[in-house]
Structure formats: structure tokens, C-alpha cells
């Protein structure tokens, strides 16, 4: 079996190795410790860790999978390593980005200065599917719209970090961060003794504070709930986990009702008022009276109660406008416009298919670009030109011509890699990083984030629904403790 001593990062940016046999200086201690364990022992701990996750029921559901609804998210024990100095930069960049995006959303639904000042065209905003006319004029508590964000970051071959996507609607994955860490502490207690790894455990407390921050000030003991679509949702485990960790109720639409002008839940002792909802269902489904009439997941009349300021919703309805991949391209301008600052964390260069010139370029270079639908997530509705067949590319070209507003294109990034245990040996696998950011009284970034890893050989797709797995992410302060 091949250990780390013969591991070759090849022509990629590797998070642990500068070159074969040469660990990055900051990661040297970690690599040394991994190497001190025989490969069989690592393999054994890997299996034990997977078992533990399975027993804890840390599973997700796969849409349209008839094999039974639950699967464990594959887990790899080799951690992803982020030196603290680098993390500080990422943290600052993320805070800056969220602050600007929040200003943007508030502006779009209120004064629309950014349109009047001709930084972004009205059509661009109003054509975003996440833009909700019914949210115009809304003033959510404390002026906060995006309370919970899971920004996707990637690292290119040159070692530079880029923001790939802003997930501002109902980002999921944070439960895996917390559970992965629990498993890793069990599997490698000595590593935690020796390295100064930033803890992630205060996420639930921070989230609860951010939610309590939204409660009406005249309520002494506010009732906060997590609203889930139910057990068949792919992220159900997480909904339940977060409710448990915060000690609040997990409710489904059918548990809620609007009565006497307030949102209430059905309890064994009758109706009880709800003050703050952390919703994990999309805007469209929130209220059949305001949005999709066929929604069985939401609560009829919720939006009216919200408009009256009698319940707070996180994230605020309408936040999705900033989650559009075309709007994404304007984030650098937003940062400048609202904060008067230069963007610290760059975007991936993005071609807007709506613009005729850029579209022409995209169509001519389909084989080297990644094309994405502007309002889809989870790795659906996307084309990786270099890996696609001629037919697939031709079909996508037609989609683009048919509805240019719906597509953007980006150069194919060569995602950084981390050694990963596969079938008893180390392989370099591509990773991304999804840190979670909370906007409460202040902006808080949970140290690290969810590292998703593409376990299919050579694959660049890290989504859980498409064969990806995860790793624990260690933000490590220099110097042992």
C-alpha cells in the first residue's frame, strides 16, 4: 500500500504538499503525524469514523433515488488544512462580502439607489427569479436580510482563492462540519492535543443569538423555531440537528397556522405564538397565499403576518435576488458602491451570456468553459465543457441562445486537491470550501467550513447529490500549543 511518503500532488495545487515528499511548511507537523500511523491503522479509523456517522444517522436523502431514501455522506479522515494567517484573510473577505450583499438586498427592495446611480441595470435585477416584487418596501428587523450564508470558495492551480457562489437562500452543510469534527476528535484525539485547531462548536449558540436578535423587543421569552419541509427533504438531518443543538422546536408547515393575526404552532396545550422562524424552505413555498398556491410546505397567510412585523423570518424572503449567478458578477461593484472598498476575495471571472459580445465568446469557447444556469444550485443545470461530448455542448449552446439571461460561463478552474484515502491508498482529490457566515449583532464566520471532496477519480463535482464526500476542515494556528 502506498503511503504519504510516495504521494505525488502532480500538476495541481495540493493543500498539504508543495511537491512530492515536500509538505507545505505550515502543514509539516500534521503530515508528520499522519505518517506516524500505519496505513492500515488510518484505514481502520476511516472505517470506524464512517460507522460512527452511520450510527449517529448523519445521512442525507437523495432526490429521485429508489434505493431507499437515506445515505451517509462519505467521509474522509485526512483533514483539509488552512493555516490561520490565510484564514484571517478569508474571514475578512467574507465579512466584507456579506456586508455588501446585505446592503444590496436592502437597497433593491427599498430605495434602489444602486439602480438610480446606474451601477446595475434595473432589468438585470428584476429579471432575477429570486427577485420578489411582494418584498418591495419591506424593512426586516435590524435591516438584516441574509442571516445565514454558506459561501462557496475554491482555490485554483495558482493557489489563489476565489468566491464561486454566494448561497444566500437556505445553504446546508453546517451539520456535517459539526458532526465531522466530533468524529475526528474521537478518531485522532492526539492530533487535537498537539495542534492548535480552532474549535467550531459554538456555531449553534451563534446561530441562536442571531435568531434571537430578530425577535420583537417586547417579547420576554421569544419562541424561535426551525421550519423544515419534512423528513423527505435531503437536508432533513441538518434541520433536526440544528433544532436540537439550539434546543428549539423543529416544525413543519402543518404544525403552523395563522390565527388572531399571529403565527402560531399547534401544541398539546393549544396554540402558541411563534416569534422567529429559521426557515429551510424556499421563498416560493413559504406561503401559498403569497407565492405558489400548490405549496403544501408553507403556511397560508405567513407573509401578511411578516409584513406586519409580527414574526421574523431568516433568511428574509426575497434574499434570493442576490443568489443569482448573474447578480454575482456585480458583487465587486457592490462592495465599492456600498462600502467604498476594494474586493478582498475575488470572484471567478464570469461571462454574462446576456451580453451579445460575451455570449459570442462563450459559444466559441464552450469546450474550455463551465456554463451554469443562473438560478440553479446543487450541481444541476451545468455544463463542464472540457468533459462534455459534442452533442452535450451543442444542446447547451441551444439552451444559451434560447434564454441567454439564464446562463453565465466561467473558465474551468483547476480546483486544489487534498490527499484522500481511497481503497487503501492516497489519491489527490479536488476540494472546495463552504464556510458559514452568520449576520446577527455582528458578522460571525465559523472557523473553517465544510470541505467537500470529489471522490470520483478526476471529478470536479463536489456536491453531495453527485457523488461527493466531505472532510473536516482544520484552521490551525501556527506553533504547537
Amino acid at each position: 500500500m502506498a503511503g504519504l511518503d510516495v504521494y505525488d500532488p502532480g500538476d495541481f495545487f495540493d493543500e498539504l504538499f508543495a511537491a512530492a515528499g515536500r509538505p507545505r511548511p505550515a502543514a509539516a507537523e500534521l503530515v508528520k503525524r499522519i505518517q506516524s500511523l500505519p496505513l492500515e491503522e488510518l484505514q481502520r479509523r476511516q472505517e470506524a469514523a464512517q460507522n460512527m456517522l452511520f450510527k449517529m444517522g448523519v445521512t442525507f436523502n437523495v432526490y429521485s433515488d429508489n434505493q431507499g431514501t437515506e445515505r451517509i455522506f462519505p467521509f474522509d479522515v485526512i483533514p483539509r488544512f488552512v493555516p490561520y494567517s490565510e484564514w484571517e484573510r478569508l474571514e475578512k473577505g467574507l465579512k466584507q462580502r456579506i456586508a455588501a450583499l446585505n446592503c444590496f438586498i436592502h437597497d433593491v427592495y427599498n430605495d434602489q439607489k444602486i439602480i438610480k446611480d446606474q451601477v446595475i441595470k434595473r432589468e438585470v435585477i428584476e429579471s432575477a427569479p429570486g427577485f420578489l416584487k411582494s418584498c418591495l418596501g419591506l424593512q426586516p428587523p435590524q435591516g438584516i436580510w441574509c442571516h445565514i450564508t454558506g459561501t462557496d470558495l475554491v482555490r485554483n492551480r495558482d493557489g489563489n482563492w476565489y468566491v464561486l457562489e454566494d448561497n444566500l437562500r437556505c445553504p446546508s452543510g453546517v451539520s456535517y462540519i459539526l458532526e465531522n469534527r466530533r468524529v475526528m476528535k474521537n478518531s485522532f484525539p492526539r492530533f487535537f492535543e498537539a495542534l492548535n485547531i480552532l474549535p467550531v462548536d459554538d456555531y449553534a449558540s451563534q446561530l441562536l443569538e442571531a435568531l434571537l436578535n430578530l425577535a420583537p423587543s417586547n417579547v420576554a421569552d421569544p419562541c424561535v423555531v426551525v421550519l423544515s419541509p419534512g423528513i423527505y427533504n435531503s437536508a432533513y438531518f441538518e434541520h433536526s440537528f440544528l433544532a436540537q443543538q439550539m434546543g428549539i422546536e423543529l416544525v413543519e408547515g402543518s404544525d403552523l397556522v395563522v390565527a388572531d393575526g399571529y403565527l402560531q404552532m399547534r401544541t398539546t396545550k393549544g396554540l402558541q405564538r411563534v416569534d422567529v422562524i429559521y426557515r429551510r424552505i424556499d421563498d416560493d413555498f413559504l406561503d401559498p397565499q403569497a407565492f405558489r398556491a400548490d405549496s403544501m410546505l408553507g403556511v397560508a397567510g405567513l407573509m401578511e403576518v411578516y409584513r406586519q412585523g409580527r414574526v421574523a423570518i431568516a433568511n428574509a424572503p426575497g434574499t434570493g435576488v442576490a443568489d443569482d449567478k448573474m447578480i454575482y458578477a456585480y458583487v465587486p461593484q457592490m462592495i465599492k458602491y456600498y462600502l467604498g472598498e476594494e474586493q478582498m476575495l475575488p470572484n471567478v471571472p464570469t461571462y454574462l451570456c446576456e451580453d451579445p459580445k460575451q455570449r459570442e465568446y462563450v459559444l466559441a469557447h464552450l469546450d474550455e468553459l463551465v456554463v451554469k444556469a443562473t438560478n440553479a444550485s446543487g450541481g444541476y443545470g451545468m455544463l463542464i465543457g472540457a468533459h462534455a461530448t459534442d452533442e452535450e455542448r451543442a444542446a447547451f449552446a441551444e439552451h444559451i441562445k434560447g434564454n441567454p439571461r439564464n446562463y453565465i460561463a466561467q473558465p474551468t478552474l483547476s480546483l486544489s486537491r487534498v490527499p484522500t484515502l481511497i481503497d487503501g491508498q492516497f489519491e489527490g482529490c479536488h476540494v472546495d470550501l463552504r464556510p458559514f457566515i452568520l449576520y446577527g449583532k455582528d458578522i460571525y464566520v465559523n472557523p473553517g467550513g465544510l470541505t467537500r471532496v470529489a471522490l470520483r477519480r478526476g471529478s470536479l463535482v463536489v456536491n453531495s447529490s453527485q457523488g461527493g464526500g466531505s472532510k473536516d476542515t482544520w484552521v490551525v494556528k501556527e506553533g504547537t500549543c
Binding site: M56, G57, I231, I248, D255, T267, K269
Partner: protein
């Protein structure tokens, strides 16, 4: 507490208890057979199906052939039969899954483990010796669950709903276990009082984990003594009277009504049943006829269950 959550914790406990009791039924029969001269085996297994009340479904699925293997499969691993051990444990887990945030992680892990183990065990050979160790393990898993719940979950409203579910289920199943004996006895009245009959009664006690406790209490094994012990004893945790007493206590913890009063039909029907048993003699039970008595008891337990649903879960809401 959310009505839906209360309902799920209640059913989580009912299903775990049900799985345990199905294991008890089967175990008592397996052991009886070991002590019985080789006779008509069908006659020995069909009473089990009868007492489940699901005879029609069994006939549909197995063409009415109550062979040992068919009955064991039906009661243990038949996923199409809602009250098989596998189905019960699976339903318990589904209920746990929707209330993971309301119960302790340890409870979830135990019930998840239980389910994964039974699912894995579904491949064992129903004619083989492994079978004999399977049923005791089901009982143990259920006991561990109850212990974990006792020790890790706050003794709050949800906990009381769970207890309520567990105890009502247990009362119902103790009644059914007694009923199995009644059916087995029927065809062979001539055996009453023979050493074989004694063995059967002892096996029955053992299936309710009641043998030793009974000995301490009554010493001599008699049908009357055993029936009295399993129905009317106020201290033995599997006796019907004990279950009703404790269930009532949990119910009143939930509502806050003091014992001896009632504020809804759940409290009224459960309190009435409990107090009737409290002042009943075993002679009266036999006057009614044991089978008839147990049958009525089960109907009234069902009514209590329906009332609990109506009072706490399906409340009408004026929107």
C-alpha cells in the same frame, strides 16, 4: 410541546414496546415446544396468529398455512406486516427520526442501532439455532432503549407521552400474552393440572419476565395465581394494573390535573379503567370469563388511545 412531536414520541415508545412483546410471544411458544411431546405443530403456532388479531392478513399472505416457519416469518421479519418485529422497529425509528431534536441523541442512536441490527438479522435461517438467541436480544434492545430514555431525556412532557405510549402498549400486550395461553389451553382441557400444564404456565410467566417475581409473591404456581399476578398486581412492572397506574400518573403530569379528577376524556376513560381494576377480584375476572375479560380490556385500552389522540394531537383549530 408540538402535538406532532408528542404523537411521535408516544408512537416511538409504543413500537419499541410492541417489538419487545412480539419477541416475548414467540419466545414463550418456542420454549413451550421444546418441552412439549412432538405433536401437531400447526396447532401450536396458529394461536399466535389468532391473538395478533391479524389472522385475515396472515391467511392472505401465507395461504392459511400456520407452519412454524410461516408464523415466525410473519411475526418477525415480514416487512409487509405492520406489526412484525422488523416493521415495529422500523416504525419506531421513523418516529424517532422526525423528533430527533426532541429526544436525546443517545435515544436516537439506540433505536437506530436496534433497527440496523434487526434489518441485518432478517437474513437468519428461521429453522436454525440462531433464532433462539434472536428474541432475547430484541427484549434487551428494548430494555436498553427504556433505560437510555430514563437516564438521558429530561422527564418532561415528551417523556411522559413516551411513557404513556409504552405502558398502554405493555398493558395491551400482557393481556394478549395471557390470551395466548387461553388458546393453547382450549384444545386440551384434559391437561389442566398436569405437569405439562404447569410447565406451560411457568413458560408464560417467564415470557413476561415474571417467574421469579411471582415466586416471591405467591410461591405456588396456579392458573388463578398467575392470572391475578399479571392482571392485578400493583408492583410488578408488566402487570396490567401497574401499567395503568403509571400511565395515569404520566397523563396527569402532562395535563397538570390532580389525580382523582379529570379534565378530558383521556383522563376519564383511563382513570375509570384503572379504578375498576383496583377494586376487582380475580374471581370476578373468571366469572366474566378470562378471554372475554381480556377482550373487553383491550377494547377499552384502544378507546383510551383514541382519546389521547383526540385530546392532544387532533385538536380542532379555529383559523
Amino acid at each position: 410541546m408540538l402535538s406532532r412531536v408528542a404523537d411521535s414520541i408516544y408512537w416511538l415508545n409504543r413500537y419499541v414496546e410492541r417489538a419487545e412483546n412480539v419477541a416475548r410471544f414467540v419466545e414463550v411458544n418456542l420454549h413451550l415446544l421444546l418441552d412439549t411431546p412432538v405433536a401437531d405443530l400447526h396447532q401450536q403456532w396458529s394461536p399466535l396468529v389468532t391473538t395478533t388479531g391479524d389472522q385475515t392478513l396472515f391467511n392472505e399472505r401465507y395461504g392459511g398455512d400456520a407452519s412454524a416457519e410461516n408464523v415466525l416469518k410473519f411475526l418477525t421479519f415480514d416487512s409487509e406486516y405492520g406489526n412484525s418485529i422488523l416493521s415495529c422497529v422500523s416504525a419506531a425509528r421513523e418516529n424517532a427520526r422526525v423528533v430527533r431534536e426532541a429526544i436525546s441523541s443517545e435515544m436516537w442512536e439506540q433505536v437506530n442501532d436496534f433497527y440496523l441490527w434487526v434489518k441485518e438479522a432478517a437474513n437468519i435461517d428461521l429453522g436454525g439455532e440462531q433464532l433462539y438467541s434472536f428474541y432475547p436480544k430484541v427484549k434487551t434492545a428494548s430494555h436498553v432503549f427504556a433505560g437510555v430514555m430514563e437516564a438521558t431525556m429530561a422527564h418532561n412532557e415528551g417523556w411522559n407521552f413516551g411513557l404513556l405510549g409504552r405502558l398502554l402498549e405493555r398493558a395491551d400486550k400482557t393481556a394478549r400474552i395471557l390470551d395466548v395461553k387461553y388458546y393453547i389451553l382450549l384444545p386440551s382441557v384434559k391437561d389442566v393440572g398436569t405437569p405439562l400444564d404447569d410447565l406451560q404456565w411457568i413458560a408464560l410467566l417467564k415470557s413476561a419476565s415474571a417467574y421469579e417475581m411471582y415466586r416471591k409473591r405467591q410461591r405456588r404456581v396456579t392458573p388463578q395465581g398467575i392470572t391475578k399476578f399479571l392482571i392485578l398486581d400493583a408492583e410488578f412492572p408488566r402487570s396490567i394494573q401497574f401499567c395503568l397506574l403509571q400511565a395515569e400518573r404520566s397523563l396527569h403530569q402532562i395535563t397538570g390535573t390532580s389525580l382523582g379528577r379529570w379534565c378530558n376524556s383521556s383522563e376519564r376513560t383511563l382513570g375509570r379503567l384503572r379504578s375498576e381494576l383496583e377494586y376487582m377480584t380475580i374471581e370476578e375476572v373468571f366469572e366474566t370469563g378470562l378471554h372475554e375479560f381480556l377482550d373487553q380490556l383491550q377494547t377499552r385500552l384502544n378507546t383510551v388511545g383514541e382519546n389521547i389522540y383526540a385530546d392532544f394531537v387532533a385538536m380542532p383549530v379555529a383559523a
